[in-house]
Structures are given as C-alpha cells and as structure tokens.
C-alpha cells in the first residue's frame, strides 16, 4: 500500500499518475524509477471523474479534472499546484447553448491543444460534442460544425452514453483533427472543425444488419504517435484496426489476440509501432479472457501481439479495463499503467515487460493519465 502524500510534493522528473474513479480522483507520484508510489486523495470525494489531464505546455504543470455526479452535473476544475488546491467549484464554463436542445451529462476527455499554443484546449463530452477553449480553459464553446452535424440525430448512445471520448490531433497540421465516439464512429475535420466527415471504411459493426455502414460504429479508442501521425490504431467494439492514411481506410490487425473485443488502447511514447491493449472476452462477458489478466503489446504495428503477464494475476482475474483506463507516461523505458473496474491500479516501468500492483481497493477506475513532470 503506498504511503499517503500530497501531490504537491512531486517535482521535476517525478512521475504523476492521475486516476479517475466513480468516487473521486487519486494522484499517485513516484520518482523516475517508478518503483515506489505515494498516493494523494480522494480529490472530489463521491464524484465521478471520467476525465483528467496533465498540461505542461505553459510555465508550470496544470492538472485538469472533470468531477461530477448524477445529482448536480459536471464541472471542470484545474489545479496549478499539483492537486494541493483546485479552482472554485462554482465555475461552470462548459455548457451547451440553450437553443441547441442539449444538456451536458459528462466530460469524457480533456485534451491540451497544440504545443505552440497553450491557450487552446479541447473537451470531448456527452452527448457527443467537441468543445474548444482559446483562453487556456477559462471559457468554452462547442465546435459549431460538429454541434450542427447533419448526422447528429442518427447517433445513438452505447452503454456508456453518447460520449465523445477520443480526440486525436495532427501535430503538423492544426486544421486536421479526428474524434471518435460511441456510437457514431470516427469523424475527421481538415478545415479546423468547420466540417466533419465519417472515417469508418473497413470498421465493422456487429450490432447492425449492415456490417460496414458509413457511420454508427462503436469505436472505443483511437491512438497515434506524433512522429507518424497519419498512422492510427483503433480498438473497436469488436475489432482491432490500423489505418496508414489518416483514417481514409482501416485494416484488421487482430493477429494473435484472444479476443478483438476491448475498450482501451495506449500508444508507446517513443515507438510508433508499439501499442498496448487489454482484450476482453466478449460484449456479453466483458472480462479478461480465460480470467487471465493480460496486457497485449505489438511492436510491429499490429502484425503480431504478445501477452504481457509477469506480475499480473493469471487465474480468477475477472477484470474489466475501460476505454480511458490504460495509458503510458513519457519515460524511457515507458511506464504503462492501467486501472480496473474492481479498483486495482497496475504499473509497469519497463515498457510493459513486468507489472506491479500499485494499489487495490480503489473505487471503480474509469480513467488513468500519466506524465513525467517537466
């Protein structure tokens, strides 16, 4: 069990792992070796925290969190002292326009914008929409081209709600961005958000009569690497895919995995061919196949996948890892982290080769984010 510590005790070179749960957020810190962890929390006790972010583009690290509950809605909070304090609870800057007919349910993703422009940020929210801030997160508005998309009435919610959970930016072209949501699939813009078109060619839907519709896919996560941004990896609600042309088309890469059903996917911080997933048995039994807790890793862009098992339970592991509960830090070798619905947080400090249980007994984990403090 980690010792209790305040998040603000961390400094440059330390590693911060932010864990969002259905009952609050927890901040784990470690030195660069990532062998011993200290925990601080819960922050926002009793509130669901579906989205967290560490933004290091400005003069100092800023933590972002989106706590909320079923009673009184979702807020957006920030901390400039690594969680020692958070911005006022009365700030409610994320709202749909009254004439949209929509009301905010959850914030599912907080994405710092381009490195060169630290005032730009994005949010993915439920019901599916992309919000943008151009003043460092003080004020927000929906991206109008997405809010008014002609397909909106035909997007339908999955079990988690109609959530826009994935925002993929193109590091070399600010006009290009890709989002993914359930259900609807992948959409992209090449004109800075003015227009959006579905990018789901080759991605199947097991839950519709038409297995390859233009849109309506239940995409669970999409990742890419900034050194090779046109190549994308996608974990679908059944299906594991790669695109080499910025989502113009997708190819099946479920090669050697026990199931291609899953939620989460994470990119290696330094190798554009290395990706991590945690397969689930099926949509009807959303637990690790054969009750073995295995993270699968590809090092060849999806041509093959290998199970990472050292330090992970290989029997009676009826675990579920949700779409935002797997992540990597920027260390070398990479730190890899995931949290389970049963409240366990696992960490690897060696690219996923071996794992340690950092903490058990957390509330159900819905979000894990990590970074090395600058």
């Amino acid at each position: 069990m980690p010792e209790s510590a305040v998040g603000s005790g961390a400094g440059s070179g330390d590693v911060l792992v932010m864990v969002g749960t259905t009952k609050g957020a927890f901040l784990f810190t470690s030195g660069p070796e990532r062998g011993e962890w200290q925990v601080d929390g819960p922050h926002f006790p009793g509130e669901e925290v579906y989205a967290l972010a560490l933004d290091q583009r400005g003069s100092g690290p800023v933590l972002w969190a989106a706590p909320g509950n079923a009673f009184f809605g979702t807020t957006l909070r920030r901390s400039r002292d690594l969680g020692a304090s958070w911005s006022d609870k009365d700030e409610r800057p994320v709202k749909f326009p009254e004439d949209s007919g929509l009301s905010l349910k959850h914030i599912w993703q907080i994405a710092p914008g381009p490195a060169a422009d630290p005032d730009v940020m994005y949010l993915g929210v439920e019901p599916s929409c992309l919000f943008e801030s151009r003043d460092g997160g003080t004020s927000w508005g929906p991206v109008q081209g997405f809010l008014e998309h002609e397909h909106r009435e035909r997007w339908t919610p999955g079990n988690g709600g109609l959530c826009l959970h994935t925002i993929v930016q193109h590091p070399d072209d600010r006009e290009k961005m890709l989002v993914a949501f359930s259900t609807g699939g992948v959409y992209s813009t090449e004109d800075g958000g003015a227009s959006w078109r579905p990018r789901n060619v080759g991605v199947r839907t097991e839950f519709l009569p038409d297995k390859y519709p233009e849109f309506g896919q239940c995409v669970h996560k999409v990742v890419n690497h900034p050194s090779r941004p046109e190549r994308l990896f996608l974990q679908n609600h059944w299906g594991l895919y790669r695109s080499d042309d910025w989502a113009e088309s997708w190819q099946d890469i479920a090669n050697g995995v026990p199931s291609d059903f899953g939620f989460c996917m994470a990119m290696h911080p330094h190798d554009p061919d290395t990706v991590y997933i945690v397969p689930m048995e099926s949509d009807m039994f959303r637990c690790c196949p054969e009750a073995k807790m295995r993270v699968y890793r590809t090092r060849d862009g999806g041509a093959s996948w290998e199970p990472m098992t050292e330090g992970l339970p290989q029997e009676d592991a009826y675990e579920t890892v949700l779409r935002d509960a797997l992540t990597t830090d920027t260390g070398a070798p990479a730190g890899v982290y995931f949290g389970t619905r049963s409240g366990k947080l696992y960490a690897s400090a060696d690219d996923g080769d071996s794992w340690m249980l950092v903490q058990d007994g957390l509330p159900p984990v819905v979000c894990v984010k990590a970074g090395v403090l600058a």
């Binding site: 079923a70 009673f71 809605g73 409610r92 709202k95 749909f96 326009p97 929509l102």
Partner: protein, 93 residues
Amino acid sequence: MSVTVVVPGPLRDLTDGRSTIGLEVAQGTVGEAFDELRRRIPSLYDRIFTEQRELRPHVNVFVSGADIRWSGGLQTPMDADAEVVILPSVSGG
C-alpha cells in the same frame, strides 16, 4: 412575497456555507423563485437545472412539503413565506 430556499449540504459551498437563501419575488410560482435564484446565484441554479432549464433528474424540489413534479412543476403556486426545499434524490450506487 418572501421565499426561503433551503440549500442541501453538498451545494452550500456555493452559498458561502448558508443553508437558506431568502428571495423576494413578485409572483407566486416556484418558477419565479428559481428565476430570481438564477439572477442571484447562477452557479447554484446551474447545479439544480440543466442548460435546457429542466430540473435535473436526480434533484427533487419540495414546496410546502410537496414534490413539485406532482404539483405543477415550475408552475407550482407558492404561498407567502413559502419554503422551497432542494434535495438530492435517493439514487446512485
């Protein structure tokens, strides 16, 4: 007319810790009281109502002991010196 709004514990950090808010409203419906509350403390209003000005599904409002969902919604009439009680519902896990 004077109306007293009773604020639930989880929202009192939006009222500087006060458990009640006194409002002066011209007309006698609970909707009028909430319009005034929105002017006075918009952040508190936002926790009770959605962007569409709909009562959040897991928040209950009682006027003179009656749940307004069954007594006329925002058109529920209020007597002078009425008490409007806001409470989170029994839900969650």
